[in-house]
């Protein structure tokens, strides 16, 4: 049986240990009845996060990356963006090219193994690292240990904020009704479902209207959408119909690939729905031009 060296756990670099509550008052005649007041200390203080930007965010929508940085920094984290990162390897992995997927994955592992956590503003790329990387190294125990170590500390952004840092609310405002699409990998590989909704519920002015079948795929599927464009389009027609039926003026999701797919279709059909990444709205960046919309100079 293969043994990986135990993970040392996150180093509390500044000597700060998690709060253990208020000291018990010896002079009180009754035990305290109310819960300890929540600490004002930001939950991410002392944590250094490696941000995996994703190739689509890097190329098409840097604002998603900056929104992620803001949300993480607001929670007290220090954010580092290693410049040796490129892509997570999914295009090769899902095309059956295991060899190239391994080579790219090995680079990601090397770039990110030194951080307390790795955070990804995408369930798809996050799922690739957290869920699929270890399986790529079935025949290489050393690499598999390293892959497992990185996989174990890699999180999709919403899941990291809520599940790991216990962030309950954000200071943001967004006027209007929004509907939220559950991107497949985040939902089914990483359990991202309640977290974005919980954070969106704290945004002033925002009203969430659920679409029918928010968990059904939008038809993107990476290379699928260009290898089988007709099937992809049929799936997209169902999805945009469900979006349209909500009457919401904004569509949100946590994966740029799905967002570009849905935005492209809504715009081709002349539907006036603005499409944004959830992180942008949570970071108070809901006023920038939506995906596929012209930017005012």
């Amino acid at each position: 049986m293969r043994q990986c060296a135990p993970d040392a756990g996150p180093p509390y670099a500044h000597g700060i240990v998690p709060s253990v509550g208020i000291p018990y008052d010896l002079f009180m005649t009754h035990p305290p009845v109310s819960a300890p007041a929540p600490s004002d200390r930001p939950p991410g203080l002392g944590l250094t996060i490696g941000l995996f930007v994703t190739c689509l965010v890097d190329m098409f929508r840097p604002s998603v990356g900056f929104a992620a940085v803001k949300l993480l920094e607001d929670a007290g984290c220090r954010v580092v963006v290693p410049d040796t990162q490129t892509c997570c390897g999914q295009p090769a992995y899902n095309s059956g090219d295991r060899g190239d997927a391994r080579k790219v994955a090995a680079r990601v592992i090397a770039a990110f193994e030194g951080f307390d956590h790795v955070v990804v503003p995408s369930g798809s790329c996050g799922g690739m690292i957290a869920h699929h990387f270890p399986a790529l190294f079935d025949d290489d125990p050393d690499m598999q240990c390293r892959a497992e170590a990185v996989a174990g500390k890699t999180h999709e952004l919403m899941s990291f904020l809520v599940d790991v840092l216990d962030v309950r609310r954000v200071a943001a405002r967004y006027e209007g009704s929004v509907t939220y699409h559950d991107s497949c990998s985040g939902l089914r590989e990483l359990g991202v479902k309640a977290q974005p909704r919980a954070l969106l519920a704290s945004v002033d002015g925002l009203k969430l209207v659920e679409m029918a079948n928010p968990e059904v795929c939008c038809g993107f599927g990476g290379t699928f959408c260009v290898k089988y464009p007709d099937i992809s389009n049929a799936m997209l027609i169902d999805k945009t119909a469900a979006i349209g039926a909500t009457g919401a003026t904004t569509l949100l999701a946590g994966d740029l690939g799905c967002l570009m797919n849905m935005a492209g279709k809504l715009q081709r059909d002349g539907k006036a729905v603005r499409v944004r990444h959830t992180a942008e709205v949570l970071a108070g960046m809901g006023d920038i031009a939506a995906i596929g919309e012209p930017e005012t100079p």
Partner: protein, 475 residues
């Protein structure tokens, strides 16, 4: 049946413009999944049952030889006969011989995917024996000379009007000359026609949902009771089943039944659950004089012990296709052979070759909805990915995709070069797309822009360029 899996893309094109099919699929997409959801909600231990069901099948597969021989021993002890069929041709031959021995002119059949897999009807017809399908859906498509489009709802691709036309065309000669419009009337007419066929059949052929090693029973569920007439009225009953259907005990059958119907149709249990254990015994009021079980391998034993073994857990509930957005878009016939949907995408390349069926495991977004509802937790996307790997290894992946991947992989491992090229692409796309915010057409992106606009990048450069410019931490 003759495979058209190689022509998958053409099949898809036809399916997407078939108005009747699309009308039927619109109902299927919401109906089955909603009923399953409600059934699961009513059973708090459902997820634990899925684990148990998976474990039972894994155990049976790990000791398949033992349980198959135990099953055979029990069947023989009850006076039945077990026939081992390594290939589809062997199974067809064995069944034809039994039918000839019985002097059969007509046989009634209850729904069996294995019979489809071995093309049994065609073989019987070619040898002068008339097979009569008795499951309503199978009966309809037999009249229309079509293959099933779904493993539990074979005629799900048809509308009520199409069925009405088919019945009028074929039943007129039997004296039914009124075109019916009510579902209940269509069912009643089929019952009248089929009742006579049941009575005159010499042999009844059924499939099996499970084979119980402990008792030598074959177990079958239906909602129409047709299998029960088919296995009690004729003199000879033949069960055709593949080897991975065997499970250890009746207790296991009970567990699997609890997930089967809920996953398939959202029912607590199917209307009829029948255990057949040998021929009629002295003193039994009815039952067949002869009882045969034909066990088909057809390549399955070769899957044991490989990375594909999980596919053999399948209990044929159809939940994967009911929840598959690709199946929901194109229906079952587009897959081109017997088994459609996600399970078809992993089973078909195994049974008829990945050269023929290579498109099937590729035509998936890996959305994972199939795996999330599978009652025996088959990792269907993982198995589809394994097929893609085998295609890639054998150079069956199209050259354009291989070249694109090679270029991408080259760049993805050279961050500096990658940054320079993505920077150029980003600036170019942003420059020309800025005014509109998107592209209606882009060179080399026809697959995308045929149906959707392509969003232009935000101005200001790539994320990494901006991060570097503002002095963000990079290590």
């Amino acid at each position: 049946m003759q495979s058209t899996a190689h022509a998958f893309k053409d099949n898809v094109e036809h399916a997407l413009v078939d108005g009747n099919l699309q009308q039927s699929l619109a109902l299927l997409k919401v109906g089955f999944s909603e009923r399953r959801r409600q059934a699961v909600e009513r059973l708090p231990e459902f997820e634990a049952l899925r684990d148990r069901a998976r474990d039972i099948k894994n155990h049976a597969l790990a000791h398949l030889d033992f349980y198959l021989e135990a099953f055979e021993t029990k069947v023989t002890a009850h006076g039945g006969h077990v026939h081992w069929a390594p290939t589809a041709a062997d199974a067809r031959g064995i069944i034809l011989d039994i039918c000839r021995e019985a002097g059969a002119r007509t046989v009634t059949k209850s729904k069996s995917m294995i019979a489809e897999e071995i093309a049994l009807n065609e073989h019987l017809e070619a040898n002068g024996i008339e097979p009569v399908e008795t499951d309503l859906g199978e009966y309809i498509i037999q009249l229309r000379r079509e293959p099933p489009s779904h493993i539990i709802a074979p005629a799900v691709h048809l509308t009520k009007d199409q069925v009405a036309d088919t019945f009028l065309e074929h039943h007129r000669k039997l004296g039914f000359d009124k075109r019916l419009t009510e579902r209940s009337d269509l069912v009643a007419e089929a019952r009248q026609v089929l009742r006579r066929r049941f009575q005159e059949a010499d042999v009844g052929i059924t499939g099996a949902n499970f084979l119980v090693a402990e008792t030598g029973s074959s177990m079958l569920v239906t909602n129409e009771g047709n299998a029960d007439l088919g296995n009690t009225l004729p003199r000879v009953h033949i069960v055709i089943a593949s080897i991975e259907k065997v499970i250890p005990t009746l207790e296991d059958a009970a567990t699997l039944l609890r997930v089967l119907a809920r996953s398939a149709t959202g029912q607590e249990s199917s209307s009829y659950t029948t255990f057949n254990t040998g021929p009629k015994r002295p003193g039994d009021p009815d039952g067949p004089a002869q009882y045969h079980v034909v066990l088909l391998d057809n390549g399955r034993s070769g899957v044991l012990g490989t990375q594909m073994q999980d596919m053999l857990r399948c209990i044929r509930c159809g939940a994967c296709m009911n929840h598959c957005p690709v199946y929901g878009a194109i229906g079952g016939h587009a897959y081109g052979w017997v088994y459609p949907g996600p399970i078809g995408a992993v089973l078909t390349p195994q049974l008829i070759g990945v050269e023929e069926a290579g498109n099937l495991p590729n035509a998936s977004t890996f959305c994972g909805r199939c795996e999330s509802v599978c009652p025996v937790r088959i990792p269907l996307p993982k198995l589809m990915r394994h097929w893609r790997e085998r295609e890639f290894e054998r150079h069956l992946t199209p050259a354009s995709i291989r070249q694109g991947l090679a270029l991408w992989a080259f760049l993805a491992r050279r961050p500096a070069l990658y940054r320079r090229l993505t920077g150029i692409a980003n600036r170019t796309l942003a420059l020309f797309g800025r005014a509109a915010g998107r592209y209606a057409w882009l060179p080399l992106a026809g697959g995308w822009t045929r149906y959707r606009d392509f969003p232009a990048p935000q101005r200001g450069g790539t994320f990494h360029a901006q991060w570097r410019a503002r002095g963000g931490a990079r290590r």
